[in-house]
Symmetry: C2
Subunit: 201 residues, 2 copies
Amino acid sequence: MTLSHDIPSKIDPLIKHFEDYLPLDEFDKSMLLPRVVERKIKRRQFILQEGDVCQHYNFVVHGCFKIYKVDEKGVEHNIQFVVENDWATDIGSFHAENPSELYIEAMEPSTILQINKTDLLFLYVNCPKFDRNFRVIIENKFIELQNRLLQSFSASAMERYLAFLQQYPALSQRIPNTQIASYLGITPEFLSKLRKDLVSK
Amino acid sequence: MTLSHDIPSKIDPLIKHFEDYLPLDEFDKSMLLPRVVERKIKRRQFILQEGDVCQHYNFVVHGCFKIYKVDEKGVEHNIQFVVENDWATDIGSFHAENPSELYIEAMEPSTILQINKTDLLFLYVNCPKFDRNFRVIIENKFIELQNRLLQSFSASAMERYLAFLQQYPALSQRIPNTQIASYLGITPEFLSKLRKDLVSK
DNA sequence: AAAAAACCTTAAGGTAGATTAAGGAAATCT
DNA sequence: AGATTTCCTTAATCTACCTTAAGGTTTTTT
């Protein structure tokens, strides 16, 4: 018997997130609670750097992160932005325990909830619901990536920018255009030109 | 007690594939066998078309498939080739039961093994090993996609072509250059130029 | 509050890759 | 075996996007 449903907890946003898929009972919650660690992350602080193995599933409670790769020329390429109620993790590195090629960096002061691998495996074995939940998380990330790849092939920079504005209207107010340009795969100068063309049209 | 380990079966390549990750015992195999259907697929035949929900996990025993999207202008964009001992499935459509945006088409006469959703869920529940196996399948597909996206941002067409040749040396002998060009995100004419530049260098 | 850093814009000139068109070689179908 | 479709290549022209450079603005740090 636990009191978790009566006591507001740091992990409430995470429970709510899981319950978008499947309701959790008191047992599930009591299993989850001691395995989740809250961390405050400063602006420009990294939660993953190239060469490190990604040790955690990171759930963003509030704040905003960018996930990017640095190419041989030193240029950053944003592959994803992560805001409230989503996961900032290098799924490949985490599961295969390979050194990551990616950086995950806070763009704002942020709060995250971390689950490490041992605890995640424990949850899989003792609460099959989490198993399903994390499968769905990966599936969704997979679909997001696939759409992004398809778009990068078949759409122009302007089309991709308009699609971005439509899909993430709030984000475009929240982060600098340099970062959006990197996400779109174009230079900040060219994005500036696209924005000018949009206004003057 | 089953004799499955003595009798060669149509699903042997699939069992071998799973055992690259985790050994299966006789019980596991006896669960799998009746849930797998073999199909012969003709060249140019589709196993998935845009608008249909992807109903199966398709394991390629032999032959070769392309997974592609057709854009608004009617142009095909190959997102993946699938050959022996790999899966040709729209994972997003299968799990979410959404109409797919993709086509999966045989490029050669092929043989596949199909598992439908009901049977897959049955296996998940009754043999947790398969659960883990299919998670790993998705993870690997995810990593493949992520690398492809990163490359499409930071590498030139020539670099991407060379990387393709290195990663899939056999495939480049097996499929037409038009298809490789579509995979690389360039026109066949430009690929032809790249190939000429390679030789004359 | 001042200094430093990051960000945004404009514009000129350059390049990777698209488009169009057309002829020849392979593969596939009948 | 012949007919048809697909595939490959070359070359000229065109365009989306990059590069470099520079000045002004906003945000962040001290």
